[in-house]
Amino acid sequence: MGLKNGLTIFFGKMMVKVLRLIGKDAGNAPGLVLWTLNKDCLKAFKVECPIIAVTGTNGKTSVTNYLNHIFTSGDKKDLKIITNKQGNNLDTGICSLLLGECDFHGRVKADYLVLETDESHVPVIYSKLKLETLVVLNFFRDQLDRNGEVETLILKVKKFLETYEGNLVLNADDPNVARLGLANPNNKNVHYFSVERYSGATDQPYEVGEGKYCPFCNSKLEYEYYQYSHIGKFRCPNCDFGSARPEVVIKDVDLQAPSFVIDGEKYKPSHNSIYYIYNLGAVYTASKLYNISKDVLHDTFEHFEVNNGRLEVFEVAGSKLLVNLAKNPVGANMTLRVMNEHPGEKELLFVLNDNLADGHDVSWIWDINFSVFKDVTRVVTSGSRAYDIAIRIKCSGYDPDKIVVKPDLDRAMESFFSTVGDKFAIANYTAIQPTRAAIRRYKEGTEDAND
């Protein structure tokens, strides 16, 4: 270890120790300080186990949690996995995580590192830590003011991949992702997954999407069908793009059961949304690289729950509530799809914040397709941009008198649960944990009152 690296680690470890001594959760701070002092600080860590990273706009946290669960299931319960389950996925967050786990020599002892990684941070992190497998889920428009245009982001990842020779697990049905398989023609470790047409697929795009043009020749891409947003069976009429043969194909998707078939075996997942099935496709393909048994996969797909605001179910005061995170139009449209496919009357809570981590720009809500509302009897909005989302829903033609605006979350819960029935909640990034907390507070409050 060089002197600089040695000092970096020593200083970092001391920082974590002091913070713990004064009773503070180290969080992001040590990584941030270290990063400021030494831009190459990640190089100071000695990681000898395989690193698996998961990136993409939507589904990173879920897929990371699934992989983490799978790697420690069955006969592998003793394996040590280091992972950022809570989605602390920027360079500084990952740096903090490793600081907490390493010894004073910077050695990180584990069997696997499974790291959810922000798309824009993939190059900076993995130019310094050796990556064995990168899983790329999708690229949607997301927080444009923070991330810039989607194209800029894809080009960043592509540039990194031009010299990368490790495993690459790619969604073949997203042109923005599939194109990355061609970034390094010498990489023989590219593994595509795909999902065959499901019952909700459409011939015309149903929601706003990216990737309308071939990244190689600018021709308009032709789609056989759209599964959701711009995910679907596409090809370029001019060049060969879109002809990659996926190694994993999910067939016979039945959202009613729900069930699907991979490699001739039927799986019964615990949720029934198409974007969730794509996540499982990524999990399956990555698991294949690590010889995970089919029993573990069956068990995980049937029983494992990420919760944490990802398709999380709550029972509150006689109502059943499904909560889902949505950071961008595609995420929100997915929850609205699940809501609309649910029979009978229901109510919706939408919590919208505009904090730094959300992106200060909330104009993405206008790319959500609210005109498809079916049997929605009331909408409650909350968060720092409660009015923006209320106006958005109103202008889609929804009766403004059925919209209740309560920027304060506790007031919002009182209003939301003043009726009993089926309920759905959508919350964006910084809103999701406060929303879950407010639901629990409300639930505890009413249960105490009933004692």
Binding site: L144, G148, K212, V362, S363, W366, D367, Y387, D388, C395
Partner: protein, 246 residues
């Protein structure tokens, strides 16, 4: 029932920040006044239509790549568009749409995209892609002689100069250039701006200004849109002014 005809230019390409929301809002506010908004679109390769048949021509914002791709097609429409402008069709243009109607737009790769030259302003972006005007913005505009604060969100690398009649003065945010005093471009029949959000969502009076202009021009009589339930919009504006204009 009266019908307003709106031409949405390149809706599949100039739709970066929920810009199509503006069309949805015009449609909604027209419907509340028993006016039907008929939306047509022009995409690359379409025949150059008689644009003066439309009451409103709308262009949203797009990424550099899309602006490059559509520039050639747009130039083919030059005569038809300037004919519509001269005859009094209303022009609403956001961000990229704003830039393309000027003299030229030099993008962040240093590529110069010719504009339609309808107006004298021109735009150049820094080649440092990180240098962008990003954030909430409030400007003071004058609509039919009345001052009206317009709220939105700006996110543009392009710096627009040589603006003879701006849309408004900046109360919070950047405007046409970094820390500029003015924002956008305006004539009675033109609103060109960097504000998205989308623009009309939190500025119902601006939307009604457009509807009033169009209906007055169509009917030959002074038209004033009847007030509708804008409680949510008013409360939203109140909340944001308190936050942004401190």
């Amino acid at each position: 029932m009266q019908t307003i005809k709106l031409m949405h230019m390149y809706p599949n390409m100039l739709d970066l920040y929920g810009d199509s929301g503006n069309v949805e809002i015009i449609k909604y506010r027209c419907k509340m006044r028993d006016i039907d908004l008929e939306v047509s679109s022009h995409v690359i390769g379409d025949d150059t239509a008689d644009f003066s048949r439309y009451d409103i021509i709308y262009l949203g914002g797009g990424a550099d790549l899309e602006q490059q791709i559509l520039a050639e097609d747009l130039l083919k429409c030059k005569d038809a568009i300037s004919d519509a402008y001269k005859k009094g069709t209303f022009f609403l243009m956001i961000c990229g749409g704003y830039q393309l109607m000027g003299q030229y737009y030099k993008d962040s790769n240093g590529e110069k995209i010719p504009g339609l030259g309808l107006f004298d302003y021109y735009t150049a972006a820094s080649t440092d892609k990180g240098k962008r005007c990003i954030g909430n913005i409030v400007i003071k505009a004058t609509l039919d002689g009345e001052e009206y604060n317009v709220i939105g969100f700006e996110n543009h690398g392009g710096q627009t100069q040589n603006v003879t009649s701006p849309f408004g003065t900046v109360l919070a945010g950047n405007g046409n250039c970094f820390s500029s005093k003015t924002e956008g471009y305006m004539e009675p029949s033109v609103v060109a701006t960097y504000l998205h959000g989308p623009l009309l969502s939190k500025n119902p009076k601006l939307c009604d200004y457009i509807i009033n202009y169009v209906m007055t021009r169509k009917t030959g009589e002074k038209y004033t849109a009847q007030p509708i339930n804008d409680k949510l919009e008013e409360e939203c504006r109140q909340q944001l002014f308190e936050r942004l204009l401190k």
